[in-house]
């Protein structure tokens, strides 16, 4: 902890072309730390600031932003990711800040919707991020709110998965009403498990094979209602299996079954 503190302290002194950091930067680091922002995050941010020669006021802006994120108990990583991506692409800080602001609003929106739906139920940062990610994936806030309101929310991880799939199926232009039927079936039966994460990829391939949306939805509903493995759904659409343990049986000589 002390070593990390030294790193942040030294970076804060040197990030701006070897000049001592502005008092406001030091104060912002202190405030962010007090709010609970981790030393790792502060180190990463200060390193980025040094690498990309950010002005003091830009650094203060980002530090204050992280303080807000931390205070509101939101995940920091997605925001840090956006900053890193933006700086790597040499996007102006004002534009990055606007993106961060919009993302923060998305998080607040999803949390509000969830609070209305589930009241006190805790949601993990990971699940919250998945739901927010669905907004980046092409569904509107209104669509997401409506979906969450109408869905069963016994298991928030499953609900998060459902919102992600909702966006992905929209991207592959799968019938929206059938999408809702599939996802509500999975949520109602508590069967939309991790193995369904890649549903949209299978749907996209099935559609390329001219399998209709109705047929895909029928197979998915059947599998979800019966709590069958995802592989059964794929088999129903004519996908061939793979053996993850041994690979295919090869080298056998045929024995006539008698």
């Amino acid at each position: 902890m002390f070593a990390a503190f030294l790193v942040v302290a030294s970076v804060s002194l040197s990030y701006g072309q070897g000049q001592p950091a502005d008092q406001s930067v030091t104060a912002s680091i202190r405030a962010a730390r007090t709010a609970g922002v981790s030393e790792t995050v502060l180190n990463r941010l200060m390193s980025l600031a040094a690498d990309h020669r950010l002005e003091d006021d830009g650094v203060v802006r980002l530090l204050n932003f992280f303080q807000t994120v931390q205070t509101e108990d939101l995940p920091i990583d997605p925001f840090m990711g956006k900053i890193e991506e933006g700086l790597a692409k040499q996007i102006p800080l004002d534009t990055i800040a606007a993106v961060l602001g919009k993302k923060l609003e998305d998080y607040r929106f999803v949390r509000r919707v969830l609070t209305i739906k589930t009241e006190e139920q805790e949601i993990s940062h990971q699940d919250l991020s998945r739901m927010v990610g669905s907004l980046d994936g092409g569904i509107t806030r209104e669509e997401l709110a409506r979906f969450i309101q109408e869905a069963s929310a016994q298991d928030l991880s499953m609900l998060a998965r459902a919102t992600e799939i909702l966006a992905l199926l929209k991207q592959v232009r799968f019938n929206e009403s059938l999408t809702r039927e599939i996802l509500f079936t999975g949520l109602r039966n508590n069967s939309l498990t991790q193995s369904w994460d890649y549903l949209a990829r299978v749907v996209a391939t099935a559609k390329r094979r001219q399998i209709s949306d109705d047929e895909i939805a029928r197979a998915a509903r059947q599998a979800l209602e019966a709590n069958q493995p995802f592989g059964d759904f794929m088999a129903a659409l004519g996908f061939t299996p793979r053996d993850l343990r041994h690979g295919p049986a090869v080298g056998r000589s045929a024995e006539r079954n008698q």
Binding site: Y198, R209, R242, L244, A254, N257
Partner: protein
């Protein structure tokens, strides 16, 4: 000695050529996936640059159905030793497990570029084409594989499916028959027969004997005769075995011969006699016979087929 030193010693021992693969293969073969995971996690920790260790760790993750964790290790294995076809192949399998069919295909192609005789990669490449609806490419790859492995069941069955999708019904029927020539048990045999019957081919049929659906080959007789030919005997042996195992099943043998009810009855009796002779413990009362002097009418899908000459089996008690 502390755990770290033990791990180091183990990793040094496994560096001896062949030792690591022996250990990894043995654990995989014995399905000791958790043990394998623990062992190779330690080795990879000590030797992250060792592609073989990365490969086995990836395999154990994959066997435990954790493909997301398998992928980075299999990628490392490929990066560390790109000449190994097996590494590319298993990376492809991991991509399939996360349903990334494009990268799956690329990996199999890489494996085949390193080793054109790599049978598993050829087979799964063909599957990948089939899943994507690229029927001709699937067929070509199944055919390439069957030159090396003429009895591979997955290739035999799926090439018939590819021919179905290519609308080549004569070849499709031949392909399903070829599959059934070697494999007459299990769900794929049942499905192959359903496909054949849909095409109006009844050299194989599925019957429900007791609670089980089984595939039986046509029971042939010489023209105008009730003498059983040897070709039908294997199917009757399947029936006899089921009746021997489950004495609650009662069966009726029904033969059709259009315009000749007495020949039909004689044939049904010949079938029963054969069963009683081969399985002397069967009570004669459990096997009834009936001869019908008209065509058998079979409906498959929207089509109706009439068979002049056939033998069927009906469970009368179970």
């Amino acid at each position: 000695m502390d755990i770290k030193r033990w791990l180091l010693l183990l990793s040094l021992m496994l560096w001896i050529p062949g030792c690591m693969s022996l250990k990894g293969d043995r654990l995989l073969k014995n399905e000791q996936y958790q043990d394998g995971l623990a062992t190779f996690t330690g080795i990879v920790h000590e030797e992250p640059q060792n592609p073989e260790a990365q490969y086995y760790l990836g395999r154990f993750y994959l066997a435990l159905e954790r493909p997301e964790e398998a992928l980075p290790h299999l990628k490392q294995a490929v990066k560390g030793d790109p000449a190994k076809a097996d590494y590319h192949f298993w990376l492809g399998v991991a991509y399939w497990a996360i349903r990334d069919f494009d990268l799956e295909r690329k990996s199999y192609l890489q494996a085949l570029a390193k080793d054109p005789k790599h049978v598993p990669a050829r087979l799964y490449l063909a599957h990948n084409f089939l899943d994507s609806g690229e029927w001709q490419e699937a067929l070509d790859n199944y055919d390439l594989l069957l030159r090396r492995e003429p009895y591979n069941p997955e290739a035999l069955y799926n090439r018939a499916l590819a021919l179905k999708e290519l609308h080549r019904p004569k070849e499709e029927a031949r392909a399903f028959k070829r599959y059934l020539q070697y494999y007459q048990e299990g769900k794929w045999a049942l499905r192959a027969v359903d496909h054949l019957n849909r095409l109006g081919k009844f050299s194989y049929r599925n019957f429900t004997i007791g609670y089980r659906r089984v595939t039986l080959e046509h029971i042939p007789f010489p023209p105008g005769s009730a003498k059983l030919l040897s070709q039908g005997k294997p199917s009757l042996q399947v029936l006899g075995t089921i009746l021997s195992i489950n004495d609650k099943i009662w069966l009726e043998v029904v033969c059709y011969k259009n315009g000749d009810p007495s020949l039909a009855t004689a044939r049904a009796k010949a079938v029963r006699d054969y069963l009683l002779q081969e399985y002397p413990r069967l009570k004669p009362s459990r096997i009834g016979v009936r001869g019908i002097g008209r065509t058998e009418r079979i409906k498959t899908g929207s089509k109706v087929y009439l068979l002049d000459d056939s033998t069927t089996f009906i469970t009368t008690r179970k």
